[in-house]
């Protein structure tokens, strides 16, 4: 350290020798313990360079002699989590669907795990609580396009509807207007007939007998003679109070004119079998399961 012979008369301590308008700065060196600690941390950091990944190279970085990696740590933790979950999920995968729904412990596990999977994969269309939206079925009610039993729900989740998977539900509502099967006024008439099926009011002066005729000629093959629908074909029940796209005349005219072919993706291969099982039980337990 530099020696300063300039001693401040008041405090009796050495100054730095600097002077500003007659004011001098006292020399107050850092405490020795602080300096030692400071240099120790520098030495310590060299140890870090050696054992941990530290220096960036052109295309990669030094890995350190301990081969430590945060990514590897995450992978290990995920593997451990898988082990913890493993036994239970194996039990879930092995049990038949009907048994899961009746075993309180398995049901609780399936519901908890299913809820998470639902939130991650299904909620964007069906809503976080499965309440659905226009064109996306409400999974809480008791109206099912493709069937609401455990097996039917699992079938739909696995392969989807019009998803491109070989086993997917394929049939779709025809575009009667676009294809030129029905004329505009016929479509309006049959739309009013469809409204009458579930007791909704019809527009004044509509041709009831004509509507019934058009319905019998064009719609009953899928929706059934009395409009009760057919789950084999995904044809909805037209006599109940639940409407996927809406029950007003304009919406019905649109549906009949342009057809409907909503898509549900296939989840087989994207979710593992026991997860699909959990999801099935969860959706079934929302309340609408048959």
């Amino acid at each position: 350290m530099t020696e300063h012979s300039d001693i401040d008369r008041v405090s009796g301590r050495a100054t730095t020798g600097h002077e500003w308008d007659g004011i001098k700065e006292l020399n107050t060196p850092l405490p020795r313990w602080w300096v030692i600690t400071f240099y120790t941390t520098i030495l310590w950091s060299i140890g870090y360079w050696i054992v941990y990944p530290a220096w960036p190279l052109l295309w990669s970085h030094t890995t350190g002699i301990w081969n430590y990696s945060t990514r590897a740590e995450v992978a290990t933790e995920l593997a451990n989590l898988g082990k913890v979950r493993g036994d239970k999920m194996v039990a879930l995968g092995a049990a038949p669907l009907a048994e899961i729904a009746k075993d309180p412990a398995l049901l609780a596990l399936a519901r908890a795990s299913g809820k998470t999977v639902f939130g991650d994969n299904c909620a964007p269309c069906h809503g976080s609580g499965g309440a659905g939206a226009k064109g996306y079925p409400n999974l809480n009610d008791d109206e099912w396009l493709w069937g609401g039993s455990l097996d039917q729900i699992m079938q739909t989740i696995q392969f989807g509807a019009r998803s491109g998977h070989a086993k997917a539900h394929e049939s779709a509502m025809l575009a009667f207007g676009k294809e030129g099967v029905l004329k505009k006024d016929q479509i309006v008439t049959v739309a009013n007939h469809v409204r009458s099926l579930s007791g909704l009011p019809t527009s004044s002066g509509y041709d009831a007998a004509g509507g019934a005729k058009i319905f019998a000629d064009n719609c009953t093959s899928c929706h059934g003679d009395n409009g009760k629908g057919n789950q084999e074909l995904g044809a909805p029940d037209l006599t109940d109070t639940i409407w996927l796209y809406g029950s007003d005349e304009a919406t019905l005219v649109e549906t009949i004119s342009n057809g409907r072919a909503g898509v549900m993706p296939a989840w087989v291969g994207r979710l593992d079998p026991s997860t699909i099982k959990a999801l099935t039980v969860y959706v079934h337990s929302l309340g609408g399961g048959k």
Binding site: R9, V10, G12, G22, A101, K102, P104, L107, A108, R111, G127, S128, G129, G130, A131, N138, N140, D141, D142, E143, D237, D240, T241, I242, S285, L286, G287, G288
Partner: protein, 487 residues
Amino acid sequence: MNKTVDPTELQVVDDGPLYAARKKVYPQSVSGTFRRIKWGLMAFCLGVYYLLPFVRWNRGLGAPSQAVLVDLPNSRFYFFFIELWPQEVYYFTGLLIVAALTLFLMNAVGGRIWCGYLCPQTVWTDLFYAVERWVEGDRRERMRKDAAKETIKLRRVGEIVLKHSIWLMIAWWTGGAWVLYFTDAPTLVMQLLIFQAPMIAYIWIGILTATTYVFAGWMREQVCVYMCPWPRIQAALTDEWALNVTYKYDRGEQRTSLKKANELRALGEPVGDCIDCYQCVAVCPTGIDIRNGPQLDCIQCGLCIDACDAVMTKIGRETRLIGYDNDINIHRRQEGKPPIYRIVRPRTITYAAMIAAVGAIMLYALLTRTLLDINVLHDRNPVAVKLADGSIRNAYTVRLLNKRGFDRVIAIDMDGPVNATLHVVGADSVTKDRPMIILARDTTTELRLLVTAPAENNPAKSIPVHFHVTDIGLGEVASATDHFVSP
């Protein structure tokens, strides 16, 4: 060169160092009434602390059989016949209020009874002093040995090692007993003996070993004087009637030796009973002079009373020159009036009444607490579901609590919208309109309940719905209210 102030003109006020170095205290051994009380209470307190985890209590199969147990993994607290769940932790609030009020009451009656006799800091420090005395000798011997630092002999090193070993052993067992309250004690003792105990047990034993060793072996009276808030609070709570360890200066001043007192008396000068022998100072565990009056450092352990009584008996004077007393009586005696003691006075009556009231409330809460409970949470999304036939369904998540030590069958009843039906998801009950569920013992069960009501009979937007669960065997009932909402 600039003009500077002449140092000799400066006024330097030196108050000395900011922190005074600690003067080590060497309390002398003493015997007498209060020492015997302290030994007795020490044995009692340590006995309870070390033995309580081993007391067994039969709670039936599958439940822990330890009388006092804090079961953290399962979130249960057991105290003999009481089992508390996490949501009942507020009972501890009541317990803490009673503890605080008891402290106030003790203070109003006899000063720092807690500090002098019962506080863990006092009990363990007293024990550590006893060990030190046994290994190194009494006050004078210890002072001499500490002063003679330059001539450290093997024997002295042996003494120091022995003392600290015993201290550490006591400290280790202090932590060792602490962890026994958190798991089955005999099992853990076995695990500790074969070094198979869980890591967390060793960590806590380590922590408590360190705190005990440092607090009772090294810090001692400094904990009471500098760290503890109670001396400050106590000073604010005390009143003129509280009995404190007091030097009774009404028995005369000045204090001088027996021989000199006789000479002074012959000259007609006033002389007190105190012969200035400093025995009260020698035995004091906080190293103070009680004759200076009430002071923050005094933990009122009563050992100076024993020391003074022994001296007074020896020289044939009346004992209790130091004793439990207050200034009022000192003044009364100086005026020639008899002393009066008012243990029962508004302050003590108030404290006692408050203790009784809080205790009664706690007892009432404990006796009337439910062992069967129900919590209902309405589905938020969707709030209501319209079914194909037009009826409305609401779903509820219901959590049932069975605090009893056995499984039981409960029936669920619902009282809400007109003609509504109740269904429990995943439960195939033989009684369709009154679902029955088995509740596992000592746990909670979550169910999904569906209430369906025909829309035409229930036009209101929101109708209250009551859920009742009834224990079929015992008849216990728990209820909860929520709402049935129409879209």
